[in-house]
Amino acid sequence: MLFPPDKELLQIIGVTLRMSFFSTVISCLIGLPLGALIGSKSFRGKAFLKKLIHTLMGLPPVVAGLIVYMLFTHYGPFGRLQMLFTVRVMVVAQVLLITPVVIGLSSSFIESASKPVIETARGLGFSGVRTAALCIREGRSSLFSVVLNAFGRSIAEVGAVSIVGGNIQWKTRVMTTAIMLETNKGKFSFALALGIILLLIAFAVNALASFIVKEHADG
């Protein structure tokens, strides 16, 4: 089944990558600017906000799945969109899970490493948004690992995506839910093969990322 890889396997890998890619991109687009803002500003209620984010960072995936399920179920507030059991709603659940992680990690990074950047940029009269953008630019290799972390979580996640995606063959089945299914069926060798492919993908993404970071290390 693996050599040559059959159509279904390729399709599962495709869905997995598509879902992880969009979840990562969207949660970073939301999370990195917010993390930079929170990390670079001091304001009232910041300590509380950080506690909240840290709590959300530990949000159990099945809980996130349940929340998104209730939002998108037929009678839910977004029921009309008829998105339940699609890859899109899996991305929504993933974004809910990963964004707090991106905000939390990037804000504590910015807070500790960006003091001199902030001091210098504010001294030059730069706006808060511009200062945050500079912090991201200056710390991009560390922030890159935040992005990787987000991708890693997204590709490895199973609880939320199986609830809202439904593990539908040819449609919403991803590597992790397929592994779960094959294990339940007792097809351990196929499950294991899927697991190895998952690891290989994770390794390839990491290798690519560290190559990119090295390229730009002191650019």
Binding site: P116, V117, E119, T120, R122, G123, L124, G125, L134, R137, E138, D218, G219
Partner: protein, 217 residues
Amino acid sequence: MVEIRNLKKRYGERTVLDLPQLTIAQGETVALAGANGSGKTTLLRILAGLIKATAGTVETPEQKLYMPQQAYAFRGDLRRNIQLTRADRAEADRLLQQLGLDHLSEKKATSLSGGELQRLSLCRVLSQDCALLLLDEPTSACDAAGAALVVKAIEAYRAACGCTVVMSTHSPALALHAADRLIVLNGGNVEADGAPEAILANPETQWAKSFTAGWKL
């Protein structure tokens, strides 16, 4: 014009700055001196609006620029570091030349020596206009020639835009050569305030004494 009234800055129980009344006229160049921990950086950062005073009022012009004590090198070469302020290339090159860094303009800023980086940091600040220029020890890492370039650049900038300058320093030479007025801080209080020559000629402050008395550690 800078107007300070009943200014206090506390960290926990400790008062690190206590200035009942201080006025700096528009166009004045003030040197701020005093021992380590006397409150120079704290005062400059309050004037820059980077930190808030615990009590009191501080009035400053809107347009101000502040150069931190610790110079920072942004990614990229020297020219790009200056152009972060949206200065054009010609202006960046003019400043690099003025501060004796033109031969390094395409080098990475992170590769600069301490004194070079400090001068780059000044270039970056001077690439914009302002009404109040705040410099935290602008010559502390420079050699004599570098310090002279810094003083000249500050004077040329001030002549061009007529701004007020407040700069902290540990160097009596800088106070004498570049400032109309010297304010000496001691433990957060003003210990002396007047013409630099007068304060340095009749040392009554701990700070001035430490120079005239020489090294006695």
